[in-house]
Amino acid sequence: MMRFTLLSLVLFLSACATQPSSTDFTKSTSKSGLSVLPNWYHESVGYHLEGGQIYPDHPPLAKLLKDADKAFMRDDLAACQTLLERAQRIGTRETSVYVRLSYLYWVQKKNKLAEQMARRALAVLGADTAQKQEVSRLLSAIQSN
């Protein structure tokens, strides 16, 4: 379930991505953000927002992440980052926070930071190898870009 959830999360974010920003920390643009994603991202079954369970079972954290996703969808990356950092303070070992941060930095072409966030996600996953595979794919995609 968690594997599906994580994969769906990545798909959801990529489906909503706009183009990556320039070094100016404001807006992203969608097309090049999607284009850097490997094929397996696009090939998987799409995630349906309604009825999905991609948020942690911790209401405050879930609320912040939902708001962060909405901010991302409307291209407000500054707000997205702020909300994710609030979430990170509350859920310091919540993988999906770091995955989101990784993707956020990636679409802004801050690859080094994106890589480190992905590594952090891997570390907090501990010994869960199934989920680690998904995040490792993200890390590989960032490193190869």
Binding site: K63, R120, A123, G126
Partner: protein, 770 residues
């Protein structure tokens, strides 16, 4: 006979000639005088216009603590929440009605939050209802509806001031209640709207009074003149100064309309002192005395503030309440006489107490050590002039609850130590830093046993020998190499190490004993020097210094063997930086105090986001954390077991430098890291070790704070085995001396002991007798 005619000189012509000459001189003098006056006026005019049309005031930056996030599941003591509400100027009432109030009913707290603008958004004024179950927040409602999360406004913790230490909160004339303007004019300058800067009536009246008294006792100054005096001139009361003041006042009136002049006055007038800071303007005075925005002032509060103008020290409502009350009532009388309030209102408000708040958002308490760090970090991006004049708002991660705990812990424990060890009073000093392990945000800094002291900041600047705090880096180097495990035998017998120029270094253990062959984790938990030094030489000094670098140590360490036992200096914040990497499982996050910076109007200028870099692999850090947990379970920090629930699985390291000049402890839970240093400023020895000194301060600091348990992050490359550590042999769970130990895959012992192989009785009660 005819009289001879007497020749008399023409006197009339002479008089006329003299008069003409005098007039001529007068005319010349007048022309010269006019020229001088014109030049003076031109100069004064330039002064007036440059001040009014340029930036009128240097506005200090305001520094805020973190906004408290409230959500179900938060570990929070109600007393801490109430303390913070008081600090941010909320008034406790039976039932909340207006923003800035709170009420307590058993385990339910109601808060009417004020509107607040943060660096990352706004929070509207709203009613927040909280339900606690002991020390956990179990329910949060916002305006009657359940909510997942809500934020409070942050505490104003201080400012970065210009050299003159003036502080103000600018207001525009439109925001100022009309009653305040009318009262001010009625009390201070009744003809304000009629005169042209100076008031001959006022001058005459003052002249008569001064003539009677034979001294300058009364001023006939208009509001314009008062403004000019405060803006440009000194406080001296001489005729020359008064003359210039009058000229400048006229110039101000020529160039600017009455509203502009009033607005400047409302923001300029001196209304009190708070420690180092001078309170200027009604905007800030409203906050300082009444804890509210100027637009929310009621009539008797307005009367109090206007009354202060005549003498802010003499009529200080906080220090001289009786005088302030009397003066307020005089102002209320004037308000009534001028038709601003009714007879009934005057009667009612005259009976009211002053209503000055004890705490306000503007309080004397500052956090100098923390502000010091804020300032240093800001200087990387902002010029000093911007920090002290643009009215920036700086939002930090200071946690007032943690800060208070650290301050009290250090202050009280140092006194106890001095008393217990019969040391001279105030001979000990200390420093404390508390940070979040995962985000790297600094929550508290204490740089002196007197936390209000603005001076040498020991937390940031005292470079002291770190002693045994260096040892985790040595053991980590060993664990990273893959050649050592937590149960690898290390030799704690006497050791001699060749130093520079043929010298011989013979480190000794604290207890002057040797302990033979011991497991690696045990040597670290008990802080043995001999085994550490030997191990460090085996793994290599260069590798050890590389580990220090990976942990975040900026300075280059010398390649001397003595660094293995911490014979080099670091500040407390340097140590915190290093231990944060260990606490965060090998992910280094630079310690930071600032979250965001905005303009005075709230426009975002900078944000300082979460950054992280993995510098050490997770697996060796996992092992190191386990060893540091043993330091608490059974090693030099075992005192903590008497103060904390063992389920917290705290980890840490004590440190005592050579000759016991420095006492250190660095320890962490699942979410918080704290570093404590105790020592003497004169660097003399003390009868105090890391365990008996700094560790106690650490315990006192953290004891009152909610802590999360520490669960080191394993990976798929970590395996656990039952081992008999002393022999480093595999065993079984029920065997004597068995401990469950973690190993990086492929490094666990291969051999089993007798108990494991079944050649020896596994043990048990009856096995002793049969």
């Amino acid at each position: 006979m005819s009289k001879k005619a007497v020749h008399r000189p023409n006197l009339s012509r002479n008089r006329k000639s003299k008069a003409r000459r005098a007039l001529g001189w007068l005319a010349k003098l007048s022309i010269v005088g006019a020229v001088v006056l014109a030049v003076l006026m031109a100069y004064l005019d330039a002064q007036v216009r440059s001040k009014f049309e340029g930036k009128r005031w240097a506005l200090p930056a305001k520094v805020y603590a973190r906004p408290l996030e409230l959500y179900p599941g938060l570990q929070l003591k109600p007393k801490h929440l109430i303390q913070e509400l008081k600090q941010i100027g909320y008034e406790r009432v039976p039932n909340v009605r207006t923003p800035g109030q709170y009420s307590v009913h058993g385990e339910e707290i109601d808060i009417y939050r004020r509107y607040v603008k943060l660096w990352d958004g706004e929070e509207a004024a709203a009613r927040i209802h909280l339900r606690f179950l002991k020390e956990e927040l179990v329910g949060v409602w916002l305006d009657g509806k359940p909510t997942e999360i809500a934020r409070l406004e942050p505490l104003l913790i201080g400012g970065i001031y210009p050299s003159h230490n003036e502080d103000r909160q600018l207001v525009q004339i439109e925001d100022v209640p009309k009653l305040l303007v009318d009262t001010l004019v009625a009390v201070e300058d009744r003809n304000f709207y009629d005169h042209w800067g100076i008031s001959p009536k006022g001058i005459m009246r003052a002249f008569m009074v001064n003539l009677q008294k034979g001294a300058l006792r009364q001023g006939g100054s208009t509001l314009t003149q008062q403004l000019v005096k405060n803006f440009f001139l000194t406080q001296e009361r001489t005729l020359q100064r008064k003359a210039i003041e009058a000229l400048m006042a006229i110039l101000v009136e020529i160039h600017y309309d009455k509203d502009e002049i009033l607005e400047a006055y409302l923001n300029e007038v001196f209304l009190g002192q708070s420690g180092r800071r001078a309170i200027h303007g009604f905007g800030l005075a409203s906050q300082f005395y009444f804890g509210k925005h100027i637009s929310a002032l009621n009539a008797y509060e307005i009367a109090t503030l206007v009354g202060i103008v005549k003498g802010p020290s003499y009529y200080n409502p906080k220090r001289k309440p009786e005088r302030a009350l009397e003066r307020r009532n005089v102002v209320l009388q004037v308000m009534h006489e001028q038709g601003l309030i009714t007879e009934y209102e005057k009667k009612v408000w005259t009976m009211r107490p002053l209503g000055v708040v004890q705490y306000s958002q503007y309080q004397k308490v500052e956090y100098p050590a923390y502000l010091d760090l804020v300032r240093r970090q800001l200087r990387q991006d902002y010029a000093e002039a911007d920090l002290t004049s643009e009215g920036l708002k700086i939002f930090t991660s200071l946690n007032p609850i943690v800060q208070r705990s650290a301050e009290q812990a250090l202050s009280k424990r140092l006194k106890r130590l001095e008393s217990g060890y019969r040391m001279p009073e105030r001979s000990l000093q200390g420093a404390v830093i508390v940070a979040s392990t995962e985000s790297g945000e600094v929550e508290a800094i204490v740089g002196d046993r007197n936390p209000r002291y603005f001076g040498f900041n020991r937390a940031l600047d005292a470079r002291r020998s770190i002693g045994s705090l260096a040892k985790p880096a040595v053991y980590l180097t060993a664990l990273r190499s893959g050649q050592y495990t937590l149960t690898s035998p290390v030799d704690d017998s006497p050791v001699q190490i060749a130093g520079a120029k043929g010298s011989l270094w013979e480190p000794q253990n604290y207890d002057k004993e040797s302990h033979g062959i011991v497991p690696l984790y045990y040597a670290m938990a008990n802080s043995y020097n001999q085994s550490t030094a030997r191990l460090g030489m085996e793994v290599g000094l260069e590798n050890v210094t590389n580990t220090f670098k990976d942990l975040g140590t900026v300075r280059t360490l010398p390649q001397y063997p003595s660094i293995l036992l911490g014979a080099f200096e670091m500040t407390a914040i340097d140590v915190a930086e290093m231990y944060q990497t260990i606490a965060a499982s090998g992910f280094h996050t630079p310690l930071k105090a600032i979250r965001g910076v905005t303009t005075a109007e709230g426009q975002l200028l900078s944000r300082y986001g979460y950054q992280v870099k993995q510098t050490i692999k997770t697996e060796p850090i996992y092992l190191l954390q386990k060893a540091m947990q043993q330091t608490v379970k059974q090693g030099t920090a075992r005192y903590l077991n008497s103060r904390f629930d063992t389920s917290l699985n705290l980890a840490g390291k004590t440190g005592t430098s050579d000759s016991q000049r420095d006492s250190w402890f660095s320890g962490f839970s699942g979410d918080r890291l704290a570093v404590v240093w105790v020592g003497r400023d004169d660097n003399e020895s003390m009868p105090i070790t890391g365990a008996s000194g700094a560790l106690r301060v650490w315990a006192d600091t953290m004891h009152d704070l909610p802590l999360k348990p520490l669960y080191p992050l394993p990976t798929e490359f970590i395996e656990e085995y039952w081992v008999e550590p002393q022999s480093n042999l595999l065993t079984k769970e029920k065997c004597e001396g068995a401990m469950l130990m973690p190993y990086i895959k492929g490094t666990a012992p291969q051999m089993q002991n007798e108990c494991a192989t079944g050649t020896k009785d596994k043990g048990g009660f009856w096995s002793r007798f049969f």
